[in-house]
Amino acid sequence: MTDVDILIIGGGPAGLAAAIAAHEAGCRNVLLLEREPALGGILRQCIHAGFGMHVFKEDLTGPEYAQRFVRRFHELGLSAQCDTMVLSVTPDREVTAVSPAFGLQHFRAKAIVLAMGCRERTRGALQVPGWRPAGIYPAGQAQRFVNLDGWMPGRRVVILGSGDIGLIMARRMTLEGAKVLACVELMPFSSGLTRNVVQCLDDYGIPLLLSHTVTEIHGRERLEAVTVAQVDAQRKPLPGTDQRFECDTLLLSVGLIPENELSRAAGVRVSEVTCGPLVDEALQTSVPGIFACGNVLHVHDLVDHVTIESTEAGRQAAKYAQGQGEAGIPACQMLQIRDGAGVRGLVPQTVCAGRVADVLPLMFRPAAVFKDAAAVVRLDGEEVLRKRFRILTPGEMVRLVVPKEVLERHAGAGELTVGVEV
């Protein structure tokens, strides 16, 4: 059994930022475990630009963004163990891991930061009729094949779902010589960022078929074609709208799921809305000393937000490991955070107003597209903050900050809601 102050699970942008923040907060015994052979997480395969506009005020590619943190990580003398798979986490913070280099290992940590990220929804979750031929991949898997391994999965491509990875892959496959026939989206709006629709589809004349879906998969050994049909308001295919696309590849960009098997086994309570742990203002889960940040907590669209969130998680984990967690601060009334109309997946879910340092960040996804709307924060029904937006869409997470003074002025409130008002 090896004792560490802080154990971080996952070496992507969340784990790296948490480790750096924990070190900077004075923790010298920090260990990061990573399943892949290298640090950087999903950023390693995101070779497109658009990262870092908030954190660095620069437009960086994924590998460049990751490298800044990997370099800082090494400069600080932090240690990471790659090729290491965590098998279990217990509620009293004992961690079992396995790796080719060290075999089975046991760690005991004063604090743990969960930073395992998320994984893609697969065809199995969609129930599309047809055979199970080769040539159907989650878009992120295809991104890995192309960008890291140097393999092209196919030549004629249809993309189902307009999540950011699907849009990015439409452009990547086009630039590497494939023909992308269409991007098919079930909803009447894209779930990806607007700039990605413009830069990845419009630029290359790739049609975005909104309110459409794949209704049949053709081909036995290898994908040969897909049938695409328009859907009605209830998302049911409309008869007579079938189109057949001859293709050898179908990429799925139909959502991401936080990877919380380890968290659940550790007794961490998981939200049914975000599919990530329920956390308080310190990003601490329902198990004391276990913190969560990044895509394992809730799926982000901007890595900058992951970095900001994970820096806070690392700092809080350090406080906890140094025994300053709850001590010294009088127990205060917990505010319950609830989704109001038009809001889904608010994080955090509980807040102790007395422990908020200077601002309380609240993150959520709009439940639908709203134009000229306001996000309104209420404490026990009384409006305390209002922010106007020209557009709110489910594809773009909203981050609101509530100043500490606002919470202090309404001390004693029991419930905070955020709602969208048009």
Partner: protein
């Protein structure tokens, strides 16, 4: 006088900009939340440019190297730039920012590595 709507790609806001054109020149831009919007709309309606990110071959290695154009290139030259980058073969070691292709397609823009190859530390 004509009007055109473009979607700003300067940041994730994706502002929808209403651009007024007079004699091929941009005379007004409306709907931008920040200064970048107006600049983008002017560029987009006169000479659209894009930063290109793609992959280059590395000698002695199967895995490709990710690269980018150091500045945006004219939109019409995207495929020509990608072809020229694909013809190149990079010799390791390569560090982030190293020039991989100089003056791609005569644009005056260099193509630079965005990851490292053969320098010992993998990311």
């Amino acid at each position: 006088m004509s009007e055109r709507t473009v979607t700003c790609i300067g940041c994730p806001m994706g502002c929808r900009l209403r651009v007024t054109l007079e004699g091929g020149q941009v005379s007004a831009v409306d709907g931008a939340a920040c200064g970048r919007g107006a600049a983008y709309a002017r560029q987009e309606c006169v000479c659209p440019t894009r930063q290109v990110t793609t992959l280059a071959r590395v000698r002695g290695r199967r895995e490709p190297l990710s690269v980018k154009t150091a500045q945006p290139v004219p939109k019409a030259l995207i495929f020509a730039c990608v072809e020229e980058i694909h013809r190149a073969c990079v010799v390791p070691p390569v560090r982030i920012g190293d020039v991989v292709v100089k003056n791609v397609c005569g644009t005056g823009v260099d193509v630079v590595a965005t990851m490292e190859a053969g320098v010992g530390v993998r990311i």
